[in-house]
Structure formats: C-alpha cells, structure tokens
C-alpha cells in the first residue's frame, strides 16, 4: 500500500515537471523585429531593401507595412513563427506573396530578421541577429525600495535611554 502511494506521488511530481517543461517551451515569448534594410556586403554581394513589404502575422490585429529602410515588430509565443509576406521589389512590380516559417532560438528574447536576406535564401547567420536593447539610464529613485519601517519610527527606537535622560 505504501509502495503504491509512493508511486502515485512520484508520478504526480513527474507530471508536474513534464507540464512545466512543456509550458516553458510553448510559452516562451519572443519579439521579432522585421527589417526592410539593405545588406551592403554579404560575401561581396549587396541585397537591396524592397520597395514595399506587407506582413500578416496570425494573432496580430494589423498588417505590418514596411517601406524602404523601415523596421517594425511582432510578438510570438513558442519556438516557431509563421508569417505571410507580400513583397513589391521595385516600383511598378507585381506583388509576390510568400509563406514563411521560422524556427526561433530559445535563448533570444528579441530577434532581428532581415527580410531582403531572408527572401534571398541566405543562411540563417545572414538574416538573423539578436536584438540587444540599449541600457536604460539609471533611475536612482528605485535603488532602494522603501521597506522595513512599517511603524514609522525612523532611526529612533527609544532604546538608547537618551530621551529619558
């Protein structure tokens, strides 16, 4: 009987751990920065920005519209990202529609995706870079949270005897 109870408890713990692991994978959030910028020199070749790009991301209310040299962002939960890209390469060209699926690295919060390099079929290192936010200016007011003196006695705890004297 005791062995059975122990087995049930171990199974419950294992289930919780497994569920936690699944949640960590499916819930991992990423911010994808979509760039329509020229790559000037990748192995001696230039990949020019597009005239116009319209991107539809499932779950996002609005279509992302990028002109030349523009950047916008989308958010994504999980390790794969799907988008429908409508590209007008040069003025007067017919729009070309492509469905794109990306595998996202787990350890990156912000990922910059260069669309001209991606659509040219270059390897991942050419179109994917990590977005590292600029350090925020230090806010000294948040240096020390105001805690620990709920009775409002300040430094005078009345225990030194000087008030009595």
């Amino acid at each position: 009987m005791k062995k059975k109870a122990l087995l049930i408890r171990l199974a419950a713990v294992a289930l919780c751990v497994a569920l936690g692991a699944v949640m960590m994978v499916v819930g991992r959030g990423h911010t994808i920065y979509l760039d329509n910028k020229t790559i000037e020199d990748y192995q001696g070749q230039e990949y020019k920005s597009f005239e116009r790009v319209n991107i539809t991301v499932p779950g996002e209310d609005e279509v992302i519209k990028l002109a030349k040299r523009e950047r916008d962002m989308a958010t994504c939960m999980g390790q794969s990202f799907h988008m429908t890209v409508e590209v007008i390469e040069k003025k007067g060209d017919e729009p070309r529609v492509e469905e794109i699926d990306l595998k996202l690295p787990y350890n990156m919060d912000g990922i910059i995706v260069n669309l001209p390099a991606l659509l040219a079929g270059l390897p991942e290192e050419a179109w994917m870079t990590e977005f590292i936010p600029a350090p925020e200016p230090e806010d000294s007011s948040e240096e020390e949270p105001n805690i620990g003196d709920e009775f409002g006695m300040g430094e005078d705890l009345g225990m030194e005897g000087d008030a009595v004297a």
């Binding site: 960590m24 819930g27 805690i147």
Partner: protein
C-alpha cells in the same frame, strides 16, 4: 422525525448582522455614487473573477477548526516569487500562468508545512500565530527578493533587476500575461465582460471542496474541527490532519494570488501580499461566515457585498464630503472593523454557549438530586 425550528428574529439578526449591515451600506451609498448599473455590474463580475479563488482557499482550515487562516499570505508570497521567475524567463500568456502555479507549489507546501507545524504547537491561538507568521516570512521574502535574487539566484533581465545589479524592482510588469485568463473566453452580454475561464476554474475549486468534504480526509478534518480530543480518541492523527489543511490552503492561496495578479497586470514586489489575507478574510466575514463556520455561499455573497462597498464608497465619499479619501479611509476602516466585530461576536457566542451548557448541567444535576 424532523423538528421544525421556529423563526427567531433575534437569532437571525445576530447570525446575519454583518451581511445586513453591508447591504444597508451598499443601498445607501449606491445612489450617492451615481454609477450606472452596467458599470457597477462589470466591476463586480471582474472582481469576482479575480478574488473568489483566493477567498475559497480559506475554507479548508476553517473546516479543520483552525479559524481564519491569516497565514494564506505565505501562499501569496510563493505565488509572487513564482511570477518573478516566470517574468524573468519570458514565459508569456496562459503557459506563464500555469508555470507560475506549478513553481509556486513546492514553495507553498514548504511554507504551509512550517506554518502548520507551528500552529500545532500553539493550538487555540492559530489566528494570531498566522498573523505574526506573515511578518516573519515577510522578512524572509524581502531577504530573498531584495538581496539574493540577482546575486545568488540568477535573474537575467535588467528590466526585472534593480539598477544596482541585484534585487528585484519595486514593480514587476506582467504585461505579457495580463488578463490572459480573463480574455480567453470573454462574452460581453449587455456590455458586461464575463471572464468565463476564471469562473470555470472557480467552479472546479468549488467542486473540489464539496468532494473533499466527503472524503476520509475531509471527514477527519471536520471531526478535528468539532473536537480535537474526540477525534484523537477515534484514532485520527490530529496534528497531521491540521498540517494538511494548512498546506492545501497555502497552495490554493498561491494559485489565487497568481490569478489575482494576472488580472491586474503588474504587482508591487514588496507590498502586494501584505493586505491579501486581511481583505480576503474581511470579504469572507462580510458574507456571513464566522471563525468556525464558512461555506462557498458565504464566499460569493461576501465578494459581492465587500466589493460593491469598495466600488461605491470612494464615489459616495466624494458626493458627501467632496473628498475621495474619505471613502478610502471608510473602506479600510470597515475591513478591519468587520474582522474585529466577527471575532468579538465569536467570543460572545462561545461564552454564551458555555454558560448555557453550564446552566443545563446544573439543572440536570438538580433534577437528578430531587429524584434521588
């Protein structure tokens, strides 16, 4: 054969004094507050969705005779620590909430175990012990969150850490999971948003409590709650039963705090848990519960009345005095006042029952003596 009880107005008034008082306050304040019924209903439904789970966590210790579990704040702290980790690891939405709940379980169990063991050493003084435990564990929480996180416990993101490099910022932003439970299924009949998923979770907990009361452990808890000595004589391990009831309550309080905070969308790292126990207990008492008896109905009525007062009091304060702070003071005063009143009434009832019992015994002895 069932005995028909005659209606006693005095008993009814005595048993329902607090809810009746609140109904009167709400009825007086509502027209003064000048709120549309739709707005009021929207606010009440929203607050029901985020608060009921927390308050339900108080029922099991009451069943086990341990009174109002002020130690539920320990579970709230465990929930907050779990939320800090989940925010730092960038787990968003419902998976973030589920992961925070899973992470809070071991912390809540540990804190509940400690609290239960201490309460077993101070039987009959559980409420004051639970209240003081909040301060003690609150200090430990501050030590962990202010000094160990970022220095010993890895915290990756600068947006979560204090600028000095260790410790957690005074406000933790939960935008990535804000109202993810509330908004998943949220029909809006007549403009009133109903957080269906929250109510489903609450319904599951209510069903669990009803089922749990009928289990062997639940029956043991009720027996312990009625008379510890009799329960011990019947072979029930009283101490173990009491510890389990506090652990269950602490774990549910951790879950409840996570549900509560995902609704708000951010939390004050060092103070969010401090009033949790007080307001939940006040709401339960407003619903007509007492130190020794509480039901699911008391929870629902309490949340409706207590939060109606919370919504209308500041605006009624503006209408009467021109100052919203009067309403704020009033609702804090009422929260503490209602707990005091409930404790005083509990003590009066206990003494009255004791003296009535003594009188009956004396009468029985007298009659026995006459017959002899």
């Amino acid at each position: 054969m069932k005995m028909k009880k005659s209606f006693n107005g005095f008993d009814f008034l005595q048993n329902n004094l607090v809810p009746l008082m609140f109904i009167i306050i709400c009825v007086i304040c509502y027209p003064l507050a000048d709120l549309s019924p739709g707005h009021l209903l929207n606010e009440i439904v929203n607050r029901m969705g985020r608060n009921i789970f927390l308050i339900l966590s108080l029922l099991i210790p009451i069943m086990a005779g341990m009174g109002l579990n002020f130690g539920m704040t320990l579970g709230a702290m465990a929930g907050q620590i779990a939320l800090i980790f989940v925010t730092d690891w960038q787990i968003w939405g419902i998976p973030g909430v589920v992961l925070a709940m899973l992470l809070s379980i071991p912390l809540s169990v540990l804190l509940g175990l400690m609290c239960g063991k201490l309460m077993n050493m101070a039987k009959g003084r559980e409420m004051i012990l639970g209240y003081m435990m909040n301060y003690f564990v609150g200090g430990l929480y501050q030590l962990v969150v202010l000094f160990l996180m970022g220095s010993v416990i890895p915290i990756i993101h600068a947006s979560v850490r204090l600028p000095r490099g260790f410790g957690i910022r005074t406000t933790v932003n939960l935008t990535s999971m804000r109202q993810c439970l509330d908004n998943l299924i949220a029909p809006r009949p007549y403009g009133v948003k109903i957080p269906v998923l929250n109510f489903i979770i609450i319904a599951v907990l209510c069903l669990f409590i009803i089922w749990f009361r009928r289990t062997k452990l639940g029956q043991d808890m009720r027996a312990v709650g009625q008379d510890m000595e009799v329960a011990r004589a019947a072979g029930i391990n009283v101490d173990r039963t009491r510890i389990i009831s506090i652990i269950i309550s602490t774990v549910f309080a951790g879950f409840g705090q996570i549900i509560y905070l995902q609704n708000l969308g951010n939390f004050a790292t060092y103070t969010a848990h401090t009033q949790t126990g007080m307001f939940c207990i006040a709401a339960l008492l407003v619903g007509g519960a007492s130190v020794e008896k509480a039901s699911i109905g008391n929870v629902f009525l309490g949340v409706i009345l207590f939060h109606t007062m919370f919504i209308v009091a500041p605006r009624a304060g503006i209408a009467i005095t021109g100052d919203a702070m009067i309403g704020e003071y009033f609702r804090v005063f009422v929260s503490y006042g209602v707990i005091t009143l409930a404790l005083v009434m509990y003590e009066i009832k206990k003494r009255r029952a004791k003296s009535q019992g003594g009188a009956l015994l004396a009468q029985a002895q007298k009659e026995g003596g006459v017959q002899a």
